[in-house]
Symmetry: D4
Subunit: 256 residues, 8 copies
């Protein structure tokens, strides 16, 4: 955008463009250029994560096409919430892609990854049924270039197992806690360590869990202060939130 504005001003300076015409051109360009700037830089520059293809409502063909474009531009690409059909077509097209079946994601290429352990994001899941959501969070964090540590099947009943990792959890870059049912796990973890905690309610449960509302309310009302919450089953969003947090740490060094 600056190039175009510079050109206009230079033409004004050389007299080849009248002031009135320059005003008109500037008004038009400012928006158009902003618009183009947005497309080029968008997520990779401004938000830290390259664009991700959200599967639902897109045909397998459309997903493949968009993935191809992102892959060419960034060298790697991610699609989430894939139907089995879409996943199959992506695997057929890119046989060496990384298909995470429970997470329903496909990753093409290899994102640059940090090797700084203080930037590790821990993903803790209360039950085995919460695994798909937890895995989506893991994939999302990896895509943004941060190391992931998994700690699964540690519901409130298995609190000793969380305690075993208390020291390492205390130095984590961020902690994502995935839980359904009553959603109590983030409160317990939040009481143990001072790391940033992102709670993800899942729709796991039955009866009065109401598709995750019980867990969502439980997490919003956590007695451990400073616990934040994302939408029900939104593993990807939790990973994105963790990436926002990690992007603040100055000693961030990604390695190709």
């Amino acid at each position: 955008m600056e190039q175009k504005i510079k050109k206009i001003l230079q033409e004004v300076a050389t007299g080849s463009l009248k002031v009135e015409e320059a005003i008109q051109q500037l008004q038009k360009e400012s928006l158009t250029n902003l618009e183009f700037a947005r497309i080029d830089h968008d997520r990779a520059v401004r938000c830290g994560t390259p664009e991700v293809v959200f599967g639902p409502g897109k045909t397998p063909e459309a997903i493949c096409e968009i993935m191809q474009i992102i892959l060419e531009k960034h060298g790697y690409a991610l699609a989430t919430r894939l139907s089995p059909e879409a996943a199959a077509m992506l695997q057929a097209e890119w046989p060496d892609c990384d298909y995470n079946e429970p997470a329903r994601t496909v990753l093409l290429g290899t994102p640059p990854i940090s090797h700084d352990d203080s930037q590790a994001v821990w993903v803790i899941a209360a039950g085995t049924s919460d695994l798909p959501v937890a895995e989506e969070a893991c994939v999302s964090v990896s895509y943004a270039g941060y190391p992931v540590e998994r700690l699964y099947d540690v519901g409130v009943a298995g609190i000793h197992r969380v305690l075993q990792h208390q020291d390492r959890l205390a130095t984590a870059g961020a902690i994502i806690v995935v839980a359904g049912m009553e959603g109590a796990l983030p409160s317990v973890v939040g009481g143990l360590v001072s790391a940033p905690i992102i709670a993800v309610p899942t729709s796991i449960g039955y009866g009065a869990s109401f598709g995750g509302i019980a867990a969502l309310l439980g997490m919003l009302n956590s007695c451990a202060s400073g616990v934040t919450v994302v939408n029900i089953d939104n593993g990807f969003g939790a990973g994105a939130a963790a990436s926002r947090i990690l992007s603040r740490q100055q000693n961030f060094k990604k390695k190709e």
Copy 2:
């Protein structure tokens, strides 16, 4: 009731009452007597706890009058959810009554009490704000004749304190767990011991706690199996549930 039926039958046997008239009298009496039987025995005989006066919607005068009747019949009486005015009038009438201000209850006389520690009911409260509900539960349990142990201010953050009492909790007759906010404490306690657990959600909290709904849903969805739940803020009901449980234990011996 049996006395009246006996009298009718004896009159039939002696011929002073005709069969047809006896049928009519029996039909009338059976219900009337059942009705009176209900009033006499009702709670004290059938449900283990003498009737309790529920304060709201009654004038202080009416409460005093009913308390007087129960006191005469049973030797002790309890009123709950008292307005300050009603409590004041009861205290004026019976200066040596037992007024529990946070629980908003007044107890007249002394209920017979068990001294068997295996029948102790533990009342655990997550936060200091849950105290009024917890105290109402305590009063309710005492009124039914069982010993009470209090363990307050032990939210999920203070889990070590609960652990300290794990041995004694394991032998409790029943455990009432009172909690607001996300209501996670019953899950933690339920994972530690095999005693019967009655969870009481409180309306403590703000924002999306929605007057106790968050805690209620959390408790209904507890991952610790066998946790049961009563209505929001229903300390009295939790005490009554504990009394039902204790009444099953054969070695129950109350002492005056």
Copy 3:
């Protein structure tokens, strides 16, 4: 765990281990051992019921594998909420297993069972549609070793039938009342006897029953005091709650 601590202390006593090193070893071991202790004793020792395999989200193969492990350790094993496929595979593997089709459970082996009638758990169901939830409760109680009495199809319209059994209900160890629609049955039963009552709302009903919410709210607001509630359709949880209650009774004698 005690063995390892003993060994450390003996090494300290004999001087083969320095005090400082012993401190470090103790800190590490305490958690690891607690953890292992948890796995060994967990439910069978601490909570009265051996672990139960919850079917949803597990493959039939995984269910078979876990059942095999529990069967070897405890001599009997239970799986709940089984898909037809999972049930079929379990039946193929253990042809003499006990498959309760409406309850969707499979039991391997024979749990030790109490023959004390005062420990019988009555399971009362309002309508025939509530039967699957009621049966799940029955299986859960049997698994924990207590005798079960069934009383089905006795909605509020059939109140006389409940009255017929009033005497035996009055001596029950615990009563589980399963009802959908308006969920009024626990109030009626709770008004008749002083036994512990666990109400289970079911998702049976239509229109404004909202998948069991009407019954759940009805039960939470029961005018019969001391009625406790578990989650919608949670027959297993009700059985577990009854088992917690029965485990308190001192004269408990299981027979192999």
Copy 4:
């Protein structure tokens, strides 16, 4: 209205009014007259009950004024949901009015009343707290000219008392059942008799009664078929519904 139309047509017949002008006048009048007809006949003729003054949102002065107009037209008048101020002003104006304090109603004059017992409306209330709503229903029924029978404080626990009146209930013209908490009473009554039953949920209760929603849902889901429901606390509406039912009975004879 017919008078005005007649007059127009007579003018047309006599030639004193042109056809075109008559068309215009007819169009205007038809609505205007319908409108006035509506005011004159409205409730007293079409709906069986003279207009009732709904207190909220009206000043005491305005209420007095409207009552005066209705009193003059019909010989009696009713105001509901009165604030203490409005009730006081009405009592000052008409010292011999009938002020029902719990129902918050004032009745001026005496409505004609049926003396046919088969047209009696029974108003049954579960608890003493439901009395204001029940009384509003009673006043509403009396205002429409039907006899009222009250049966209060007969919750599900007091079912024997309802049974005592089963014979007379069976011949009632209509039964209004008022209940809060879990709202189970209409199911019990509906299972006993074939009379029309109008259930009124009240906002009595606490915790998860949610201002009457629990009772409302319980009544909508009643297992006794043919129970109908009106809005929460809507005693007046229940009385109006009963009046609609009674107005169908051919042998209806009101006596001044």
Copy 5:
């Protein structure tokens, strides 16, 4: 029951039965007999309508079996909410049965029917999509022996059509108004006539109709006083409510 009591009393009178034994026999018999009385008379005697078979949760075979029993006892029988499979089996078994496809009901035999027009029940439906619920109401009314008048597809936009029938509606025995979406039709009809009105909300609609909640709330809050409401989509319940109302009218004469 009276016969047995009489026999006991006669034995007492003749001295062949002791008073003490008589008391025991009376207590036992009273419940047993009440119980049997209930089964014999139940709905046909006490509630005006013979038992109806509710299809969901029953196998086609079970439905056929129960229908056979009722048919033998009463001469006619009705099943509702039938799956296509159950309907097919009933049609195969009784080829001349009356299968109402939209209502999903099958009627065997012919119920006695009143020919008194003042007992006609009008069933008004707002839209064509509400037809299945309306038809279920019609079948339910016919089964109870009352004549039915249908008035379909007269939403609030077609109010003139309702006006056309105002005279006959005004003399109807009862009016059932079936509507989805905003559920405004009962308010309009309720403003026109003084007949009893039973509103049935349907789950028809989309978006924020929330499966009939919008219509349900609209009807509960109707500005036309005396409108009563049944559960969402509960055509059968509306018919049963209308039957309760009609059963009150003394000049009721059914004809075979």
Copy 6:
């Protein structure tokens, strides 16, 4: 803003400003100027209505101060949702202001007003209790310069009265329909005329009206197509929506 950009460009043209410096100045100015432009023109230019002072959360003093500023800039000013204290202070400050007590608004000065009847906005209210919301809508429309016609107290029962004005309603610029309870009035009006209709649900009602939710849902599900809805009790918003609609009409001629 254009003036500043022109000046910069002229300096570039004359060489008194370097291209690089000009780029920096342009970037700064564009936002600052946009910002200032926003304040000057905002509502009066872009949205058709001068800024309105929303009372809640502001001190009476602050309200007076802001009103003074707007009055100076535009010649007239409006404040809404005023507390009695704020209204009193405004009246003290500007004794000849226009205080609409039910609407809780104060208007200073006189907005220019259109005298084109085809631009009249009709405000229809179902009940007298809906008047405050309706009046707020009227004030809001007048403030934007359009004529207002009021039609109050015409609930669904008074439909003939609406019919009387059908012709004039048919030519209205826009119609605002205010209703509480079941919110059926917009459906009726929407079925009569093709004018734009803005429905305003009010929190008037009781029981299951849930503070206006019943009316809101009723209006969203209106069977009359093309009815739009604003927030509960949002009379001001409805007026603003009507103003947006009127501002489209080319023959708009305001007169001072």
Copy 7:
């Protein structure tokens, strides 16, 4: 209708009809004629849009039949919410029909269309998943005869793109903004221009979007005043609302 009234009056004037008979005939005709008028003119005359066939709950055959009738009467016809089967049958019957697959609509014939740009309706959609609802709105607007401008995939993140069209949006006849998830787009657009804005929440989203409730609430609470809302996913309703607005503009000239 006037013709018939005129005839009656003329007969009265000539004496061939008696006044009493004329009164009776007038009463009958007024309703019948109103009724017939309604059928003839209904939507095309009174509401600006010919009747539209709503697909759900109708068989493909029935849809074809109704379309045929409307086509004959008006020269064009529209069906919405078509199942694939219904769409296929319509295409088979009218091979040159206009089938909009995402919108699930079929248009027969060509509606007259305005060529006045100031009457253009802009349809803005936040995401690609909102497209079906947006397209339904477009079809609905075209059917009513107004030009449509589409602006898709401009979520809050793409706000610059909306800004690019600010000038043309400012002169739009009406703007329909379709958005799911948090539904923030109407607030942004409403802050930019003074045109009438109709917000359509879509059921797009997951977790706590609750099928469009989040978007619906967001739009009802928009901080941009004067934004109106229609039901979730109700693209057709939004188009109808826009048509109501455009029908007010006097310079409306449709061209065949």
Copy 8:
């Protein structure tokens, strides 16, 4: 704790304590000491923020007492959600305290504060009514030792003002966005920068904002990925979440 363990081990080493006795002592001490450790270090050590006194449910006297203890231990102390009475008593006790009236907080002493701008937390509020919640967040962040930047009154309509600060926002340590009504602001900010964003819904709004639910749902469904949410009105929790994030940044250097 280590001191006590060391002492036990030394006694074992010297033979003054038997191994068996040592095991028992170790088991007891481990919990007791953990407990004391918890009290000493709790928040200041483990969670980064010293304990904060939550005002509601505590008497002014109790608040003063607890503040005194914390002040002595840490040198500074904070109380939140203070009633005017509690605030007055604290001000009387510590006249130079820092009372933030809108935030309802009192700060005693001065917390150590970071002077690293990259650790600044921006607190953005949509409207003036959101100020109390925003100020509570500011106080909470300051208490934890991080610099605060305020940006108030920048609703979606004032988006240009946010754009002005885009550069500095992009380098913020964390951003707290406080908004009521439709809660759209976090989506806009989240689309502009990659910094961590914590959204706080407020209960500001009316009608269908339902006490903040609309804003809460809007934020949970934000189309800007990686936005996290805390409870309604929970400014303190948002500050605590920001502090958790900042505590991760290695170059954290607080200055006295």
